[in-house]
């Protein structure tokens, strides 16, 4: 678009940056507040005022370690199952005749409002008399993360040419060998992305966990309770901690992806 003037372009830049501020400023502000030692909701006034006081307080919260452990377990299981299922769908997607039906089915859960998915799953588990536990939460979370994971995986599989696999098979590679040496190395970015989606979506999910978990609460449920109950500023520290962990994982993923891109470039 050569016809766009500098003025219009800078207007659009401003607009986009304002939208980004609208999305990110509140969380950033919360991170800053979590470092203020007093009970006031404000950013520390001096550089020397920054303290991890409220973060250290988190160690004294009795129910927190259990919730963290539960969330990490649920997240890891969700990540594993989600990436496995989306890997399978990526593998068979090439050979499918009616691709859009399959894709439509797999991304369908994305269009079901969260609370309805949660309610329907909880009564379904009740029907087949499965008690609420960590595993019911995992199943709910896999269903929630699968559409996103499938899309990420299919994008990475779309770069995989059928000829590569044929070539491997013609050279005498077994199906497993072709998977190990050709398919997996070329699609690992998508599979890893699926796992990341599984873990982080599960970690941060609330309503499904609320309806599906047993006596042991997840981190999101615990945090939501604290937020509603008007707890002390350590809630900011807890939120800050979860934000930091999420951002750290996203950064790790970014480094990993640029590494994959770099290595595949040198390979080409």
């Amino acid at each position: 678009m050569g016809s766009i003037s500098i003025l219009k372009k800078s207007c659009l830049w401003t607009f986009t940056i304002l939208a980004l501020l609208f999305i990110f400023l509140p969380s950033t502000y919360l991170l800053a507040i979590s470092l203020e030692p007093s009970e006031l909701e404000r950013i520390p006034r001096n550089l020397s005022d920054f303290s991890l006081k409220w973060y250290i307080r988190l160690f004294h919260q009795e129910r927190l370690p259990g919730a963290i452990k539960q969330s990490v377990m649920v997240g890891l299981l969700t990540a594993g199952i989600t990436s496995f299922l989306s890997l399978l769908s990526g593998m068979c997607y090439r050979k499918l005749r009616k691709k859009s039906y399959f894709l439509g089915l797999l991304i369908f859960p994305m269009f079901v409002p969260g609370i309805i998915a949660a309610i329907s799953l909880s009564v379904f588990f009740r029907l087949i008399s499965i008690r609420s536990s960590m595993y019911t939460v995992v199943l709910g979370h896999v269903l929630y993360a699968l559409p996103y994971a499938t899309i990420v995986t299919l994008v990475s599989f779309s770069g995989l040419k059928e000829g590569f696999i044929e070539a491997a098979r013609d050279l005498g590679a077994s199906g497993f060998r072709a998977f190990k040496d050709i398919i997996f190395p070329l699609t690992r970015g998508g599979i890893f992305g699926a796992a990341l989606f599984g873990f982080l979506l599960s970690l941060n999910e609330f309503i499904r966990a609320y309806f599906l978990s047993g006596w042991q609460e997840t981190l999101s449920i615990y945090m939501f309770g604290q937020m509603k109950g008007g707890a002390d500023p350590s809630i900011y520290a807890l939120a800050g901690l979860i934000l930091s962990v999420s951002i750290f994982l996203v950064l790790v993923a970014l480094v990993y992806y640029s590494f994959i891109r770099y290595s595949s470039r040198s390979f080409a």
């Binding site: 299922l85 989306s86 269009f111 609370i115």
Partner: protein, 321 residues
């Protein structure tokens, strides 16, 4: 997996007389090929069935279940088979539909706002910004998907609250002398919360659909003398209908089903359908909860069908094929 290895040598063409050894070899290879073909089919189903069955059993069947159960009769702790519309009748007589309409109105407003804000941003990212910045911008809009929406909504309290950023700034400028009270715990706050949660959901489908509009199409329109806005309205927007529709459905469905924004930002009087569902479930009033769920589902499915039929949402995913 092209042809069986026995065909590859071309030995049939060279010799007109085929030895029985070659014949036997060929048959063996054909049998092998058939076996590997059927093995491949089995493998194909092993790959296809787990994800498909997972979604059918846990994602589709339970929804059918609550639709059926919404016509059953309540008992003290559970429900029993029946065919009654009592739950739906209650929905309209007990004033629950008013809450439903309010939730619907808020969701529509938020969807509209997200479209107005999201479209220019998506267009900017895909067509105007240079490639270097495009990826950075796309990435920054992906990050919210990975952050806790509870925390993001909760942190808005710090911005909108009585001692929050907005009030402090306004006081500092001198526009107001007392902090504004109505910012937090109001319908306005709920709108803001929903918008900040779901804006990225609007941007991505639109970016995808703008990607599919070729540069030459836009150039052709401009060569024919169309101004920028004529091109936008006559060419680009009609061609990006799938993205617009998909984004609107995402935002609409998500805000229709979200509880957190109402819980954390809404006032005491603010009550939404998802919260109503939550309390109905806690009160063991199952058929009523199922009836409301069915209504929401029916609406969602209608919007979805419309999207697939008239806006060709499926085109968005063609790049995957």
């Amino acid at each position: 997996m092209g042809k069986p290895p026995g065909f590859a040598g071309g030995s049939l063409n060279q010799n007109s007389s085929v030895t029985s050894y070659q014949c036997a070899n060929l048959l063996k290879n054909i049998r092998k090929f058939k076996i590997s073909k059927s093995k491949e089919r089995i493998l194909f189903f092993i790959q296809l069935l787990p994800p498909a069955l997972f979604v059918i059993i846990l994602g589709v069947f339970p929804l059918v279940l609550i639709i059926i159960w919404s016509f059953w009769e309540p008992t003290t702790y559970w429900i029993k088979p029946d065919l009654t519309i009592a739950a739906y009748h209650k929905f309209f007589t007990a004033g629950r539909y008013l809450t439903f309409l309010k939730t619907l109105r808020v969701s529509c407003t938020v969807t509209f706002l997200a479209l107005i804000i999201g479209y220019p941003i998506a267009y900017f990212i895909r067509k105007i910004v240079s490639e270097k910045y495009r990826n950075i911008l796309l990435l920054t809009f992906i990050i919210p998907f990975f952050l806790s929406y509870i925390i993001r909504v909760f942190s808005l309290r710090l911005i909108l609250g009585r001692y929050g950023v907005i009030n402090n700034v306004l006081l500092w400028i001198g526009l107001i002398s007392d902090p504004l009270e109505g910012l937090l715990f109001s319908e306005l706050a709920v709108h803001i919360g929903l918008l900040s949660s779901y804006l990225p959901f609007m941007i991505f489908p639109i970016v995808l659909s703008i990607e599919r509009v070729g540069e030459s199409t836009i150039e052709a329109s401009q060569d024919l003398g169309a101004t920028f806005f004529q091109t936008l309205i006559r060419v680009i927007i009609p061609l990006t209908k799938p993205g617009i529709f998909a984004g609107c459905i995402f935002v609409f469905v998500s805000s229709l089903g979200s509880t957190v924004e109402w819980d954390l930002l809404g006032g005491v009087g603010e009550f939404s359908t998802p919260q109503m569902l939550e309390s109905l479930m806690t009160a063991l009033k199952f058929p009523s909860a199922f009836a409301i769920s069915t209504l929401i589902l029916a609406m969602t499915m209608c919007v979805l069908l419309l999207g697939f039929k008239y806006a060709k949402i499926a085109e968005l995913f063609e790049t995957l094929e």
